[in-house]
C-alpha cells in the first residue's frame, strides 16, 4: 500500500496503557497457579482502534497458538499459567499510515513484589501497568485525518479512579516529585562540588607544606 504525503513538522501523540493483571487461582485443577490478563488500551478506557489496525500478543511458546492477533478491541488476552515471561505486543497501524509496526516488551508479572510478598492479601490482583505514548511524527495526510477525526472524548482522566490509574493529576504529581528531586540532586551536587573544591585547596596546601618540610629535613 502506497503511503500518502507526509505532513512535515506535525506531531501527534496518543497515550496508551499496557500491562497485565494477575490473580492467584484459589482452586487449582492443573499446575497453573495464576489467571492473568495482558492488555492494551487507552488510559481513559476510550476507543483506540481508530488508529490501530491490529494488535498481536506474542506469548511464551508453550501456549497453544502463542501468537494472538486482534483486529478489534478489546485488545487483551486472558490465560492461566504459572510462570512469568516476556510478552511482545506488536501494534500494527492502518496501511494508509505507511508506518511499521511498533513493539512493546512487557514482562508478565504474576507475583507481588518481594518486599510485599509476605503481606500481600490472598486473592488480591497484582497489577503491572505501564503508561506510554505513541508519537506519530509527520503522519501521512490520510492517517492524520484518522488520528484527528477518530478522537472522541478525553484521552487521559483528570483523576485516578478504579482501573484508571494514570491521570492528569498523577502526571502533575509525578512532575512535582521529579522537580523536587532535581532540586535535591542539584543541591547535593553543589555540596559535593564545594567539597571537592575545598579538598583541592587543602591538597595544594598540604603539598606545599610537605615540599617545604622535605627540603628542610
Amino acid at each position: 500500500m502506497k503511503a500518502g504525503k507526509r505532513m512535515k513538522g506535525v506531531v501527534i501523540s496518543k497515550p496508551i496503557i499496557y500491562g497485565n493483571v494477575s490473580t492467584e487461582l484459589l482452586t487449582r485443577k492443573t499446575d497453573h497457579t495464576h489467571k492473568w490478563t495482558v492488555f492494551l488500551r487507552g488510559p481513559n478506557g476510550q476507543d483506540i482502534s481508530y488508529f490501530i489496525h491490529k494488535v498481536e500478543f506474542k506469548l511464551h511458546e508453550t501456549f497453544v497458538n502463542n501468537n494472538r492477533a486482534f483486529k478489534t478491541p478489546p485488545y487483551e488476552v486472558t490465560e492461566t499459567g504459572w510462570g512469568e515471561f516476556e510478552i511482545i505486543t506488536k501494534i500494527y497501524f492502518p496501511p494508509v499510515s505507511g508506518e511499521k509496526p511498533i513493539s512493546l516488551y512487557h514482562m508478565l508479572k504474576l507475583y507481588p513484589p518481594d518486599s510485599q510478598g509476605q503481606t500481600w492479601p490472598k486473592g488480591k490482583p497484582v497489577n503491572n501497568f505501564f503508561y506510554d505514548e505513541l508519537i506519530f511524527s509527520e503522519p501521512t495526510e490520510e492517517f492524520f485525518e484518522m488520528l484527528t477525526k477518530g478522537a472522541n472524548g478525553p484521552e487521559i482522566p483528570l483523576k485516578v479512579s478504579g482501573n484508571q490509574i494514570f491521570s492528569l493529576e498523577s502526571e502533575a504529581a509525578e512532575c512535582k516529585r521529579l522537580e523536587s528531586s532535581i532540586a535535591h540532586v542539584s543541591g547535593k551536587y553543589n555540596e559535593y562540588k564545594e567539597k571537592a573544591r575545598a579538598a583541592e585547596i587543602e591538597i595544594a596546601m598540604l603539598r606545599r607544606d610537605i615540599a617545604a618540610l622535605e627540603s628542610a629535613s
Binding site: E133, I135, E138, N152, E200
Partner: protein, 573 residues
C-alpha cells in the same frame, strides 16, 4: 582419631576413599610408553671421515662422523671464520694524511697499533691488554698509559683519513661519481665514527651502575616503584579532575537546565494566569445560571477566552469544538457545584482554554488535535478517588495540573505554525514510543543511575532501563533533566571521595615529616614560606588547617573556583 590404612568406607570407590582419607598414597596409573619406533626407510650409513678446514692454516687433519651420502668440500663451520681487513697505509699516505692527525702518535707506535689490530682481529680489549706486554712491542716511541679509548680513537681516525684521502685521489669529479659510490663513502665514514668522550662517559655510567651496593640497589628499586605509583596516581587524578571539570561544564550551561527554567517560566505564567482564568470562568458561570448551561458553547466563542483558538487554523476545528463543549460542561458543572472542592479544577480547566499564551497552545499540542484536557470535564466524574494512587499521596493544587513540556514552534507546511513538544520536534517521520525516546544513559553509568533513581523511588519498577512511571512529554522532560543532574552528581561525589582520601594520605605524610623533623624545625621551615604568617604556621600544625586563610588560590590560577571557594569561606567566617 587414627585412620586405619585398610579401612574402607562403604559405598565409595577406592580412589575416592583414598582422596578422602588423608596420608594415604593415591594410586596413580602410569602410562607405559608402548609406541614402537617406526622405520619408514632404511637406516643411513655414517662413516668416520677425515677433513680439513680452510679456516686453519696448519693443514691439521681431524676426523668426525658424517653421512656417507654427503659430498664434502670444506669444514662446515669454516665459513664463520670471517677475517677483518684492517686498513693499511703506504709511506706516502702516512705522510700526507695520517701524520698531521695527532702529534701524540709516532709512526712507530702507529705501525705497532695496526700490527696488533691485524693480529687480534680488531678485538680492542685484547689489543689494549697486550699493548705493553706484547713481545713485538717496540722499545721506544710507545707512549705509556694509552687507554682503550685512545687506541680505538687513533685507529678509527686513521681509517677515516685514509678513506677520505683515497676518495680524494680518485680522479673523477665527485659529482660524476655514481650515487652508490658517494653513499658508500658516507656509510663508511659513519661506520668508522668514534666519539671518545661519549664512550668514556658510557663506561663511567656502567662502572657506577656496577659498583652500587646492595642497599643502594634496594633503595633505588623502592624509589622507582614509588615514583611509578605517584605517576600513576597523578595521571589518574588529573584525568578525574578533568572529568569533573567536564561534568561541571556539562552541568552549568547545560541545555537541560535551560529547558527546566523554561518550564519554570511556563509554570510561573500558568500560575499567574490562574486568577485571571478563575475570574473568567467565575464571570461565565455567574452569567449562566441555567442548570443545563446550553448557552455555554456558543457564548464562549464570543468571550475573550475563545480568542486564541481562532488563531489556530482549521485542523483545530475539532479541538476547539471539543473545547467549547468542554467549556459548556465546565460551566455546567460549576453552576451545579460551585462550592464543592471539585470545582477548582474546573475553574482551571476553563482557564486553560482561556490561557492567552503558550500554555493553552502547548496543551493544545499535547493532546494535539484531539480532545484536550479541557474536554475532560464532560466525561469526568467529580468524585475523589478512593483507590491508592501509584504515585503516593500528593495533594493537588489547582495550578499543578498545568504541567507542560518544553515546547517549540514548528512551521508545518499544511497547517501553518503549530506548537510541538521540544522533544518531539526532531524525530523525523515514523511512529515512536515516548519512553524509547528518553536520553540514553552511558552504559557504564546505567547501574549507578538506576540505583540512585530507585533510592529516590522515581524509577518505574520492573524495567531494565530507568523509565518514568508515567511517560508523558512533560514527565519525560523532567526525567531527562533529572538524569542529566544525577550523572554529574555521581561523578562529583566520586571525585570528592578520592580527594578526601588523598588529603588523608597527605596529612599522614605531613605528620610523619613533622615527627621526624621535630616541631621546632617544622615551624622554622614553614615560616620561611613567604605566604605563611607565623600565626598560620600554628594552624597548620593542627591536623586540620584552616582553609580560609590559605593563599593557595594564587597557586591554582588555572582553577578560578579555588579562589572563589576560599573567599566564600572567608566571608562565612
Amino acid at each position: 582419631m587414627a585412620i586405619k590404612p585398610k579401612q574402607k568406607a562403604p559405598g565409595m570407590s577406592r580412589e575416592l576413599t583414598s582422596l578422602y582419607l588423608e596420608n594415604q598414597t593415591i594410586p596413580v596409573s602410569l602410562d607405559h610408553f608402548q609406541a614402537k619406533p617406526k622405520f619408514g626407510s632404511r637406516a643411513e650409513r655414517w662413516v668416520w671421515r677425515g677433513f680439513k678446514s680452510s679456516a686453519r692454516s696448519d693443514d691439521l687433519a681431524l676426523y668426525h662422523w658424517t653421512k656417507a651420502s654427503e659430498t664434502y668440500t670444506d669444514y662446515f663451520y669454516a665459513r664463520y671464520n670471517a677475517k677483518t681487513k684492517p686498513y693499511d697505509y703506504t709511506d706516502e699516505e702516512y705522510d700526507k694524511c695520517i701524520e698531521p692527525l695527532d702529534k701524540g702518535w709516532s709512526r712507530v707506535e702507529t705501525d705497532y697499533l695496526l700490527y696488533l689490530c691485524k693480529q687480534f682481529d680488531l678485538r680492542f680489549v685484547v689489543i689494549h691488554d697486550r699493548y705493553y706486554s706484547h713481545p713485538d712491542c717496540p722499545s721506544t716511541g710507545v707512549v705509556p698509559e694509552r687507554t682503550l679509548e685512545d687506541l680505538k680513537e687513533r685507529y678509527y681516525a686513521i681509517c677515516r683519513a685514509l678513506i677520505q684521502h683515497r676518495a680524494g685521489e680518485d680522479a673523477r669529479d665527485p659529482d660524476d661519481l655514481p650515487l652508490q659510490a658517494t653513499n658508500k663513502l658516507a656509510d663508511d665514514l659513519a661506520l668508522l665514527k668514534f666519539d671518545k668522550a661519549k664512550e668514556q662517559e658510557r663506561k663511567q655510567y656502567l662502572e657506577a651502575l656496577f659498583m652500587r651496593t646492595k642497599d643502594e640497589i634496594e633503595e633505588e628499586e623502592i624509589l622507582i616503584t614509588e615514583a611509578r605509583r605517584i605517576e600513576a596516581n597523578e595521571r589518574r587524578l588529573i584525568q578525574e579532575r578533568e572529568m569533573l571539570l567536564q561534568s561541571h561544564c556539562m552541568f552549568e550551561p547545560a541545555p537541560t537546565t535551560t529547558t527546566i527554567s523554561s518550564i519554570k517560566v511556563q509554570f510561573a505564567q500558568a500560575s499567574d494566569s490562574v486568577p485571571l482564568l478563575q475570574s473568567n470562568s467565575a464571570s461565565a458561570s455567574a452569567g449562566d445560571t441555567t442548570p443545563k448551561g446550553r448557552k455555554g458553547a456558543p457564548d464562549s466563542s464570543d468571550t475573550p477566552s475563545a480568542r486564541p483558538m481562532k488563531k489556530q487554523k482549521s485542523v483545530h476545528g475539532v479541538a476547539s469544538a471539543v473545547r467549547t463543549k468542554a467549556g459548556a460542561a465546565a460551566s455546567k458543572a460549576q453552576s451545579a457545584g460551585a462550592q464543592s472542592p471539585g470545582a477548582r479544577p474546573l475553574g482551571f480547566g476553563a482557564g486553560e482554554m482561556a490561557g492567552p499564551s503558550s500554555v493553552a497552545a502547548s496543551s493544545l499540542e499535547r493532546r494535539s488535535m484531539s480532545p484536550l484536557r479541557g474536554g475532560l470535564f464532560g466525561g469526568i466524574k467529580q468524585e475523589r478517588s478512593e483507590g491508592e494512587s501509584q504515585f503516593g499521596a500528593v495533594s493537588f493544587a489547582t495550578e499543578e495540573h498545568l504541567v507542560n513540556p518544553a515546547i517549540v514552534q514548528v512551521e508545518a507546511a499544511d497547517l501553518g505554525d503549530i506548537i510541538v513538544a521540544q522533544r518531539d520536534s526532531r524525530l523525523g517521520p515514523g511512529v515512536f514510543l515516548r519512553s524509547d525516546k528518553l536520553h540514553p544513559i552511558p552504559k557504564n553509568k546505567l547501574e549507578s543511575v538506576k540505583q540512585f533513581m530507585e533510592q529516590l523511588s522515581l524509577n518505574c519498577p520492573n524495567t531494565i532501563w530507568p523509565r518514568p512511571v508515567m511517560a508523558t512529554a512533560a514527565v519525560c522532560d523532567r526525567f531527562d533533566s533529572l538524569q542529566a543532574t544525577i550523572i554529574p552528581l555521581l561523578e562529583c561525589k566520586k571525585t570528592a571521595d578520592k580527594l578526601e582520601t588523598e588529603i588523608q594520605v597527605l596529612r599522614a605524610r605531613k605528620r610523619m615529616l613533622v615527627e621526624s623533623i621535630g616541631e621546632d624545625k617544622t615551624e622554622e621551615a614553614l615560616s620561611k614560606l613567604p605566604p605563611f604568617d607565623p600565626s598560620k604556621v600554628v594552624s597548620t600544625r593542627a591536623v586540620t588547617p584552616s582553609i580560609a586563610e590559605t593563599p593557595v588560590a594564587s597557586n591554582r590560577q588555572h582553577n578560578r573556583k579555588g579562589s572563589t571557594a576560599s573567599t566564600r569561606k572567608k566571608a562565612r567566617e
